[in-house]
């Protein structure tokens, strides 16, 4: 038992410090650099250590130092307590979601099977939805506690947006659950290791294409980024985090970037086979025509971990691409899209999937 707890702790530390935080931090850099390259610019690259610039990677450090050394200012008219905890709520919600993501196949070390997942909950799927929706509290608290009209408006928009899109989010995933027959994420990933005709992997995106097309925007809406950055809408109402500055503002940003990572991980897990590599079985590559290429189990594990990471990075990249390309929705258009267009489609998807599964 003690070992289990210790192992879980180690996993938490490794995942948090080894994957999410660095990735989120890296994303702050990637967002600037990628947008710059998209826009024919050079992007941030001035921070240097001993004249070494490394394409501006040290800007992450500089940003961190700057954000955390700025004055931590609470407006006098704000509700101090709620104002202070709001960013942490957001950060927490984004972090804990990662607990159920399987980022690699179970490893067998010393005869003991170690799942590359912090917690293999039998309700992992619900857990994600549950904690994903906790993010809304951060927005509400920040907006309300700031006691500022613009922040308030942002919070209001945030609530309706996030609550609306949770419905679509959940419904679009029902199809996956129906197809894979499980709400445990490792099982969902495992189910995507199969192939049709030996060639086409049974990834979620192929079994549930409509669900994917609905899930992606709905999930981006949950992260409150362009084109769904209405709670922020920096050119209209500046947003729910208007009164924040310094470290706490940085926490909001960090939370946002973590959500990007989580979202990428979710898309990977649910729709792109998680750690699965097409045609890679435990023993090595098995192609549709029967050809095989045997690989050492360690190599297979590394390939699968790498595959997960690669997919994760790709979806991070895609999110950034979307963020810097599209204009912002209007509030009512967003709700119309959610309730009137995506929700019926999601329901249809569930019905059709169920029908197909039944028949």
């Amino acid at each position: 038992m003690l070992f289990e707890i210790l192992l879980a702790l180690v996993k938490v530390v490794v995942i948090l410090l080894g994957v999410i935080l660095p990735l989120a931090a890296l994303l702050t850099w990637a967002e600037r650099k990628q947008s710059a390259v998209m826009q024919d610019r050079i992007g941030a690259n001035r921070a240097d250590i001993l004249g070494l610039r490394v394409w501006g990677l040290f800007n992450i450090l500089a940003d961190g130092i700057k954000a955390f050394s700025k004055e931590d200012w609470v407006p006098p008219f704000a509700n101090r307590f709620l104002f202070n905890i709001a960013p942490f709520v957001g950060l927490f919600a984004a972090m804990v979601t990662f607990a159920v993501i399987p980022f690699g196949p179970p490893l067998t070390i010393g005869g003991r099977e170690i799942a590359l997942q912090v917690a293999d909950l039998n309700v992992g799927f619900l857990y994600i939805l549950a904690f994903g929706s906790m993010g809304v509290y951060s927005v509400v608290l920040a907006g309300w506690a700031s006691n500022n009209k613009f922040a308030q408006l942002g919070a209001m928009r945030g609530i309706s947006q996030m609550i609306s899109y949770e419905v679509v989010l959940g419904l679009s995933l029902v199809g996956i659950v129906l197809v894979t027959g499980s709400v445990r994420l490792p099982e969902i990933v495992a189910a995507q290791g199969q192939h049709w005709f030996g060639w086409i992997p049974k990834w979620g995106v192929f079994t549930q294409p409509l669900a994917f097309l609905l899930f992606l925007p709905a999930a981006i809406a949950e992260t409150k980024r362009v084109p769904f950055d209405i709670p922020e809408g920096e050119s209209e109402i500046i947003g729910y985090n208007l009164e924040y500055s310094g470290a706490k503002f940085a926490l909001f940003l960090l939370g946002e970037f973590m959500e990007i990572v989580v979202l990428a991980a979710l898309v990977t897990t649910l729709f792109f086979g998680g750690w699965q590599v097409p045609w890679l079985a435990d023993t090595g590559f098995v192609l549709g025509n029967g050809a095989t290429l045997d690989l050492a189990p360690a190599l297979v594990a590394v390939l699968r971990l790498g595959s997960f990471l690669l997919k994760l990075l790709f979806f991070c990249w895609l999110q950034l691409l979307i963020r810097w390309t599209l204009p912002r929705f209007r509030f009512d258009h967003l709700l119309r899209l959610g309730w009137k267009e995506m929700l019926p489609l999601a329901l249809l998807n569930v019905v059709v999937t169920a029908f197909v599964m039944l028949s």
Partner: protein
């Protein structure tokens, strides 16, 4: 030969579906991304001939070539013997719409022009860089071709150019707060002041001013005929 042409555009199914146009947009930006990344990579591995990966420049290490006509910081030309070409004719002061030029003239024995500026001040805080002074100068003296664009300081008096700086503006270049306390030699190689290379270094002869300046600073308006009383 001009016609009014209606360019109304109707909504189509393609637009109604969101995704087609969104993917088109993503494709455009992604293409920029990959093309630029490719160019950056080629550049990084040493193929410097191709197009650069970005339209922006790594300022101030890299400077865009500025055209010669660009109106930048003022300077005053000198004759071969080191005298300023300016004869304090005041036309630039007259033509200046911002009243930023102020010249104190004086007699100059050593030149055929008889007259020279004892003091020539340009208040850059007021200057709008219109170039009227250059146009007005009848002696080919004042120019705005130093290509010095970066003029910064945290003190107003640093924005007043006087005759020595106008004749050789290079010492000016260290007025910014980040350069304070550093020597010219230390600052110059870092910045774009290399630009000044095309402003030929001149031998400036300001010796004629000493007496006049001393009088100015002493507050003595000079000898004049006795008054009525």
């Amino acid at each position: 030969m001009a016609r009014f042409v209606n360019v109304d555009r109707q909504a189509t199914l393609k637009t109604a579906l969101y995704y087609p146009a969104v993917w088109t947009g993503l494709w455009i930006t992604a293409r920029h991304f990959f093309v630029n990344m490719g160019r950056h990579t080629l550049h990084a591995i040493g193929l410097k001939g191709g197009k650069p990966g970005s339209t922006t420049l790594q300022y101030p290490e890299v400077m865009r070539p500025l055209p010669r006509v660009l109106r930048s910081l003022h300077r005053i030309k000198v004759h071969e013997d080191g005298r300023p070409k300016c004869t304090a004719c005041m036309l630039c002061e007259t033509a200046c719409p911002d009243f930023c030029i102020s010249i104190t003239p004086m007699e100059h024995d050593g030149s055929p022009e008889e007259k020279a500026p004892a003091e020539f001040r340009i208040d850059l805080d007021r200057c709008c860089f219109c170039g009227f002074c250059v146009e007005a100068c009848p002696k080919d003296a004042i120019y705005m071709d130093t290509q010095i664009m970066e003029i910064s300081s945290d003190r107003r008096e640093n924005f007043i150019l006087r005759l020595p700086e106008l004749l050789d503006p290079r010492p000016l270049l260290c007025t910014g707060p980040e350069f304070r306390g550093k020597s010219v030699e230390k600052v110059l190689p870092h910045l774009s002041w290399r630009r000044l290379d095309h402003v030929t270094p001149v031998r400036v002869d300001l010796s004629y001013r000493t007496e006049q300046l001393a009088r100015l600073h002493a507050g003595n308006p000079g000898t004049r005929p006795a008054g009525l009383e």
